[in-house]
Symmetry: C2
Subunit: 205 residues, 2 copies
Amino acid sequence: MNTTQSDPPRKRGRPRNLEPSQEYRDRLENIVRVAADVFQAHGYEAGSLDDVAAAMGLRKASLYYYVKRKSDLLRLVFERAITVALTEVETLAHLANPRERLAALIRHQALLVTRDPALFAVFFDQRAGLEHADLADVGHKEHLYLRQFILAVEAAMADGSIPPGDPRLVANAIIGMTSWSYKWFDARRDSPEAFADTCVALVLR
Amino acid sequence: MNTTQSDPPRKRGRPRNLEPSQEYRDRLENIVRVAADVFQAHGYEAGSLDDVAAAMGLRKASLYYYVKRKSDLLRLVFERAITVALTEVETLAHLANPRERLAALIRHQALLVTRDPALFAVFFDQRAGLEHADLADVGHKEHLYLRQFILAVEAAMADGSIPPGDPRLVANAIIGMTSWSYKWFDARRDSPEAFADTCVALVLR
């Protein structure tokens, strides 16, 4: 990444036409993780790029190499949360057995949130800090996420795995059962796997 | 409430040694309801006593008759939410039939949140604004609330109404299923009763 006298002048930051290096991606992922912790601890308004740099032992100039504004960082935190969530749900959607599919979705969602409560505390509670276009993008992806749960619930109702009802209400109840864990789950005391098993056993008898 | 020349001097506000009048209590309840709306719409930090007074068509001086500081208003919002919730749960705890008792608790919690999502949005998300002693008081009452759910879950496990498991995890799953509704429930589209029925049917087969 070093520039020499003979390089053409360019803006700071990573070159636009190159794939980011593995080192770059690892560092950025680490920044996003620390940003989630900072925003969760202080709130988005009170948290700052300085806090993130300090928590990583970076100079602020080094952080600027990756992100220019605090709102970039919030967008990256949201992107990480919804991308991880949605990618896995869309893979699980291919499971043919309705009972197995719904069980897999419940387990996925329970593990997702309990393994990274700080990330999801920001995702669920700090939405007011997002720029308008980013908010719309998150809303769209959440809609796709809910849609996969509704389809899985419909299939599980059709094969008698769960009682009949309004699939949208049932899907929201299931998402709530698991999402709410960011409010109370304590990794020092509770096991993500035990909680995932509990939720699956409660919904699928 | 009018004072005359012959009254002894006293601080403004309602007399300390008298029961508040029905009118006073009604007005205060209305203030708390509007404060919940204001804090939910703007957040606690950004919301102000001026916003609450304006939303009620009151002069700020009239509002001061009831509350002196914004943190009083937040405390009253929290007190209202947890008192309504806990009083009903402690009444339902006397139901002898475990299945009926758990169904009643689930229905209570689902209706509570979906009938007043603004109040519970503040209760669940604006805790950082509470003074230390008020926070401890809310935490204590929430513990009592969770305790009633755990006892009801234990009884429902013992009589086979729900699958065996860790009662604390199951109780938190059930509370999450219902509480989460403050994030998505839309009273223009969804019925609190239909959602309560959905949650009961999902947990108690």
